[in-house]
Symmetry: C2
Subunit: 211 residues, 2 copies
DNA sequence: TAATGTGAAGTAATTCACAGCA
DNA sequence: TGCTGTGAATTACTTCACATTA
């Protein structure tokens, strides 16, 4: 196989394949089945998997258990990456409870907030810790991923502290562009307001079409 | 200007520009300033805006108020798209409260759930309605966008009902690929588990680099 | 002069088309 | 025969480079 850079987009599809492989009750799958279940084309599925090796059998398909293990390994979920949520407002607590429900491969180890009124309270299986302990807890638990659900005023400062204390990736829900000056930290923004506003455009598009 | 298809990616950046334009305390901006504030390149900013017209003044920049109005109009936010949240669990209620806080351009008109124990309870400014009234409420409020925060078992069924009753776009938080058979409905997935798993890969990447 | 607007060039991602193999 | 794996073609997106204009 020609050695080439793996597109980010391909990486971001692997978890979807993985989920369906753990849910489906079959021994073998084809790229067509996997594609239909996840909403991608079969060629896309084959190419994504082929970036990492030849996991299938021509004329047959893929062995579900084996492919699951491969993707699990590629995503490094077998290393058990640990995460921390900073900001125990509505969104932060909802996320902790949401992830608590499913038996996740990425485990949330701590929930932090700056508000003394809620520090110490219980959220799911976690007790809210003071944000003052951020650096200490990152080291103690070996946190690799941080989920940022603080108000926008605090986001940049907290992100810098996270980056400086060794966190490698940040999932940023704060409504502000966070770009730490640490180039090795990967920031993935998820901005609900921006998503809704973009959808507004697409809603309008369709109306023009049909009317 | 050469008439061309506008990339989805460009549309999805406009809300970020819009937010900064409403927050910045200036009368004029350049593409460089706008780019730095939002994390994109100045060429990107100029090209995105130029898809829709020549809003700037050469040698000077863009008038903030005018550009804000233009983007507002392009995204059709001046039409006041109305949204509905289906699923009043942790995530659904958190989203309603979150959007309630900011004075949003996309207004959430209703919050629905199937659990009789919480139907009728108050969440932010909304009362939880029965999901049985879904079609009725979509028509009554003229809902264009639905936010799906139901468990995965219910997601596909609810999405189909939404599509059939005339909703044009769905923001899907349920951990399952929802593709309605109505091609005119735009589905935007946001899957927290998949995001975290993808980040796990990037965390691993960086470690290899530095160690 | 300083910044926009834009064709051209370059890069990235997807789809096609089919060779290769169980 | 059926489905994978993959170079080639295509399409989508971004960056470059500069002509243009207040």
């Amino acid at each position: 196989m020609l050695l080439q850079r793996i597109p980010d987009a391909a990486i971001r599809r692997l978890p979807a394949y993985l989920r369906w492989l753990t849910e489906c009750q079959q021994e073998r799958v084809t790229s067509v089945m996997l594609g239909q279940a996840t909403g991608y084309s079969s060629e896309q599925v084959r190419k994504d998997l082929a970036y990492f090796g030849a996991f299938g059998t021509r004329g047959v398909g893929y062995d579900v258990a084996a492919l699951r293990e491969e993707i699990y390994h590629i995503l490094r979920l077998d290393r058990g990456v640990r995460a921390m949520v900073v900001g125990a407002g509505h969104l932060g607590t909802a996320l902790v409870r949401y992830v608590d429900q499913g038996h996740q491969d990425v485990q949330i180890m701590a929930l932090l907030d700056s508000n003394p009124a809620i520090i110490g309270s219980q959220v799911g299986s976690l007790r809210v810790e003071s944000v003052d302990r951020l650096e200490e807890l990152v080291h103690e638990f070996g946190i690799g991923i941080a989920v940022l659900t603080v108000p926008k005023e605090a986001a940049v400062t907290v992100a810098d502290r996270l980056a400086q204390s060794g966190v490698r990736a940040i999932l940023n829900f704060a409504p502000v562009a966070v770009c730490t000056h640490y180039p090795d930290v990967f920031v993935q923004p998820i901005d609900l307001t921006l998503e809704l506003q973009a959808l507004s455009y697409f809603v309008g598009q369709r109306e023009q079409h049909t009317l």
